[in-house]
């Protein structure tokens, strides 16, 4: 698991090394404060009543009996929150329609999925709160539900939102009410001409089930609405400012009246950006006059937060006999869930993003149906798309008799390649990952034994930039306190501190990173879009430059020379006749004019996209259809790797989630649209014994537009696994799977069908 950085001599001292994470001891000793550890005097416990129906009109809600139960302090429903009109609020990574957000937080006239929040209680303890929920009487008028995306697009489908209008590209034949929230069309070149030139054309259809991020820590929020009108929230959130803004907008408060403290977080993967229980905790606090903590259980997490879309995708690709792709056509329908969600957008961007297609067309639909509103999940939309496109790529390579990596190399996107959605790539590293994979011993290792096969697959994610702020205070002992607003999910305290340390010529240990509340640091967007090491790291770099500038001026004053005569290199300030280390000068700042604070707020442009190429060996049990992963190698362009262990961890984690998506994870629905497997027992994520050691191989193609060459690392590793595993299954037993998950019953059925066809 070496990186290029560790094998060649790097000019960096801190970047590329593996210091111990700053929050490590707190986490392994159990001292770190997670959302559920928050305790306040007089704390009440909130619980949410959720819809048992997938689709129903609410005739009435009667809370009188619940209010009378001893120990109950407040009961709320949508009557306690003013309605919002359909208006967009920016959330950094994406925007949100306030009317839909409001109705998702507490259902108003209709419930649109099983688990939709209807009312909530705050009580002296959780048990009383749960008993009180049973006393709330809701009169429902059940309606037909629809949970498969193609069914929801039919003319006679049950309509979820009466006044929904299709946004985006016009749909000429659509009339009347619809579930299609968005229609996207991208095109490039002339696909008819392209397909006419093709020697080989393959067209396939793909289905994938709804899957959840499966973070270990359930959502939890504590709110205190003080009599002076100030609202404080402690939350498990990927973005404290996003949480602040959504809550403030929903409750019609100025943002300055809301403080959000981000607690340590047990995973998010895109699922902890939208608010669910934060506004509920706030309203319960307002009504009861006490702090209120609302905690979800696991079933709530599955049924009532945002999973990622199930989808239907049709991909058609054409190639010349020499292996050059000439045209691609994709038709993609993604679940929006109960309200418009837009994961289809990145899905459409990603479907052909790995290839240089002269002619391409992509058409996509965001479709409302009776499932929870979908949310981001690690490269949202890209995994579904990669499964489809990569499988067709494999079939083309086979038909043309070209090695699958060679075929991809012939067509790989490079600097200058224009994607069907418009942008041309700057420097990217897909070719480098393909070449590295091809040369890796795994790719040429012999794989013996029956029913075993090897597959490869590629994936892409565009990554995000967005806004980040930090302040950095120089301490007299030569350390620097780094104040930041980015929730630390994957070791970003350290990866950001390392960029500050590198710039100042100090060690990572000499930086004291602190993730603080929304009143204590400048606006910072979510930890999401693989942006944090990139953008908040950039802010840390800029804050360090600011410190150097101020300290150089101090040194000049001290040495009685002009600031231009002071140079700074790797932690040493010097003039013609003097020199002081960073630490020495820091020791003198109080006598030379007082504290120095560096600061930076960036809106990071120059995002570097990331690609990965994975190799996997599987064994299929031909009698049961069960697939075992034997070996897994994940090659990824990571840009410049700041902290190799954390980059490797991101790759391994992403692959594990991709394996789960590929093999077993799915929301199982009954005929009435109710999820049947809302538990960790029956929603089958891989356990430690289901995956082998995943070997991450990091290729470094630095992002030329970032001060340290950083690209996002965290998302792309989830994209290739389903397609790579599908290819491996084909090479093991000669059967192509077109539906996720490739679970034992489905693989077994495919084997039986194949045998009876022969």
């Amino acid at each position: 698991m070496a990186t290029a950085n560790e094998t060649k001599t790097s000019s960096y001292r801190v970047i590329g090394t593996r210091p111990i994470r700053h929050d490590g001891v707190d986490k392994v000793t159990g001292r770190a404060v997670y959302g559920n550890d928050v305790q306040l005097p007089g704390l009440l416990y909130g619980r949410v009543l959720r819809s048992p129906h997938a689709h129903a009109r609410i005739r009435s809600i009667d809370t009188t009996k619940a209010e009378k139960l001893p120990g109950v302090f407040a009961v709320i429903s949508s009557a306690d929150i003013d309605p919002h009109e359909s208006k967009m609020a920016e959330l950094g990574e994406g925007s949100v329609n306030l009317q839909y957000l409001c109705e998702n937080v507490l259902a108003r006239k209709k419930v649109l999925y099983k688990g939709h929040a209807v009312a909530a209680v705050a009580a002296v303890n959780a048990h009383v709160a749960e008993e009180a929920l049973k006393l709330i009487e809701v009169d429902y008028d059940p309606l037909h539900a629809v949970t498969w995306v193609l069914d929801a697009m039919k003319d006679d489908a049950p309509i979820l939102i009466d006044d929904l209008k299709t946004e985006g590209a016009p749909l000429p034949h659509s009339k009347g009410p619809t579930n299609i929230a968005q229609h996207i069309v991208f095109s490039k070149g002339d696909i008819e001409k392209g397909f006419a030139e093709a020697d080989v054309i393959i067209e396939r259809e793909f289905k994938s089930a709804t899957v959840h991020q499966g973070y270990i820590e359930p959502h939890v929020a504590t709110a205190l609405w003080s009599p002076d009108g100030h609202l404080s929230i402690w939350a498990s959130t990927q973005g404290s400012f996003t949480c602040r803004q959504q809550t403030a907008e929903l409750l019609a408060l100025p943002v300055s009246k809301v403080t959000v403290t981000p607690c340590e977080i047990g995973g998010g993967f895109g699922g902890k950006i939208r608010v669910y229980i934060e506004p509920i905790a706030a309203l319960l606090s307002k009504k009861s006059g006490r702090p209120v903590k609302v905690l979800m259980n696991r079933a709530d997490v599955f049924e009532s937060t945002g999973p990622t879309p199930g989808s239907f995708i049709r991909v058609k690709l054409g190639a010349k006999r020499d292996g050059r792709l000439v045209a691609g056509d994709a038709w993609m329908a993604y679940d929006a869930g109960a309200y418009p969600a837009g994961i289809i957008g990145p899905g459409c961007v990603c479907v052909f993003s790995c290839y240089d297609l002269p002619n391409a067309r992509v058409e996509g639909f965001d479709v409302v149906l009776n499932k929870p509103q979908t949310a981001a999940y690690r490269a949202p939309g890209s995994t579904n798309a990669a499964f489809a496109c990569e499988t067709v790529i494999e079939e083309l390579a086979e038909k043309l008799g070209i090695d699958p990596i060679e075929f991809r190399l012939k067509n790989a996107a490079k600097e200058g390649t224009r994607r069907p959605d418009g942008p041309a790539y700057p420097v990217i590293g897909l070719v480098e990952t393909l070449k590295t994979a091809k040369a890796h011993p795994h790719y040429s290792a012999t794989l013996e034994g029956p029913n075993r096969g090897r597959g490869v697959g590629c994936g892409f994610w565009m990554n995000a930039g967005l806004k980040s702020s930090v302040t950095a205070h120089v301490n007299g002992d030569g350390t620097v306190t780094l104040v930041e607003g980015s929730t630390d999910i994957g070791g970003t305290r350290t990866s950001i501190a390392m960029q500050l340390a590198e710039t100042l010529g100090i060690t990572a240990e000499e930086v004291v990173p602190r993730v603080v509340d929304t009143d204590s640091v400048g606006y910072t967007d979510v930890t999401g879009g693989s942006r944090t090491t990139f953008a908040t790291g950039w802010a840390a770099h800029d804050a360090a430059i600011d410190i150097v500038k101020q300290m150089s001026a101090r040194a000049a004053e001290f040495w009685k020379c002009s600031p231009d005569e002071v140079t700074f290199d790797r932690g040493l300030f010097s003039s013609k006749s003097h020199a002081l280390t960073f630490k020495e000068l820091a020791g003198k700042i109080q006598e030379t004019g007082g504290t120095i604070t560096g600061r930076a707020s960036v809106e990071a442009k120059g995002v570097g996209a990331t690609f990965g190429t994975h190799i996997v060996d599987v064994e299929v049990d031909p009698e049961t259809g069960k697939v075992k992963i034997l070996r897994y190698t994940a090659v990824q362009d990571c840009g410049r790797v700041i902290h190799p262990s954390y980059a490797e961890g991101q790759i391994q984690g992403g692959v594990v989630q991709g394996i789960g998506w590929a093999l077993n994870e799915e929301y199982v629905y009954d005929a009435d649209g109710r999820m049947r497997n809302a538990s960790m027992l029956d929603y089958r994520m891989p356990t430690a014994v289901d995956v082998p050691t995943i070997e991450p191989v990091m290729v470094e193609v630095p992002n030329p537009r970032h001060p340290y060459g950083v690209r996002g690392v965290g998302e792309v590793p989830i994209c290739p696994p389903p397609a790579a595993i599908g290819a491996a299954i084909y090479n093991a037993i000669g059967i192509r799977m077109y539906e996720l998950p490739m679970s034992p019953p489905k693989v077994c059925q495919a084997i039986i069908n194949e045998a009876s066809a022969k």
Binding site: E623, K626, P744
Partner: protein, 299 residues
């Protein structure tokens, strides 16, 4: 969840009395690994929990002079597994006991609890049936014996009458040239509920099958015997072909439902696969091979 009283009697008679007094609102409490979860999820209700783990008779495992084994109904799985002479003699029962949860669960979970929860997918029951196990039931009206094969009557239902307890299991001594096996199919490697379970015992003399017993889990409202398949095997050569044929016949005993754990047709298909593999493992074992079913290539 509301408040629940807790009783910790020292004798079976006191436990029965405590349940009787609770008048239908008491629940026996052995390892608690089912009942606590169910109470918390609201699928069961109780005013009193009657702890069985403080009753010596219910937590011991010993061999009787007849060679049979008696296992107290509240004996934790981990203790059963680590009782070496029992474990060596009954690898088929241990297959089931071993996979009930991880270490923490096995330190608490009992055979009595597994049986009395009466899940069609319970992992200990098929092998107990295949081994002709019998339970001793004690209640307000005295005690009686019931074969495990007749204990369950439907999902979550069994022959226990109000305030009755399963006190212990009796497992007959193994015949010579015999062994057993329990296999379950799950989509992952651990932490899952059987899509299909299959317990078998086999007696073979000079390569000819003398006795066979096949019990299936998760394919009917309760664990079931595949009697026709077992009968067909008698007198047949102990070969993979015979076991395959037995598997085909055993499918007829399966009347599964489709649910989130697997479609009905798939379960029926798996019956054939598991019966064949389980019998094959029993055969290898009775011939002296040690087979760890969790890591065996065949499984």
């Amino acid at each position: 969840m509301k408040e629940i009283a807790y009783a910790a009697p020292r004798t079976v008679a006191d436990a029965v009395a405590a349940l009787k007094q609770a008048n239908g609102n008491g629940k026996a409490f052995a390892g608690g690994t089912d009942i606590l979860v169910q109470l918390r999820e609201g699928t069961r209700n109780a005013d009193v929990l009657v702890d069985l783990k403080k009753i010596p008779e219910m937590t011991e495992i010993r061999q009787l002079p007849s060679g049979d084994w008696q296992i107290g109904a509240a004996t934790p799985c981990h203790r059963i597994e680590s009782t070496v002479p029992f474990a060596e003699g009954y690898p088929g029962i241990i297959d089931g006991v071993h996979i009930i949860g991880g270490w923490q669960i096995k330190g608490r979970a009992s055979l009595g609890g597994n049986l009395c929860t009466s899940s069609p997918a319970a992992d200990s029951i098929p092998a107990l049936i295949a081994h002709h196990a019998v339970v001793k039931i004690v209640g307000p009206d005295g005690s009686r014996e019931v074969p495990v094969s007749e204990f369950c009557t439907g999902p979550g239902k069994n022959v226990l009458k109000p305030a009755e307890l399963v006190a212990s299991f009796v497992i007959p001594a193994m015949l010579p040239n015999s062994s057993g096996c329990y296999l379950r199919f799950i989509p992952r490697s651990e932490m899952d509920i059987a899509v299909v379970g299959c317990g078998t015992t086999l007696t073979v003399e000079k390569d000819t099958i003398k006795q066979a017993r096949i019990a299936l889990g998760a394919v009917a409202p309760k664990p079931v015997l595949a009697e026709e398949a077992a009968a067909w095997l008698i007198g047949k050569p102990a070969t993979i072909e015979s076991f395959e044929k037995a598997g085909e016949i055993a499918r007829k005993a399966a009347t599964p439902i489709s649910d989130m754990r697997g479609p009905a047709e798939y379960r029926t298909h798996l019956v054939g696969v598991l019966v064949k593999r389980s019998l094959m493992t029993s055969l290898r074992r009775l011939r002296g091979e040690r087979v760890d079913v969790l890591h065996d290539k065949l499984v």
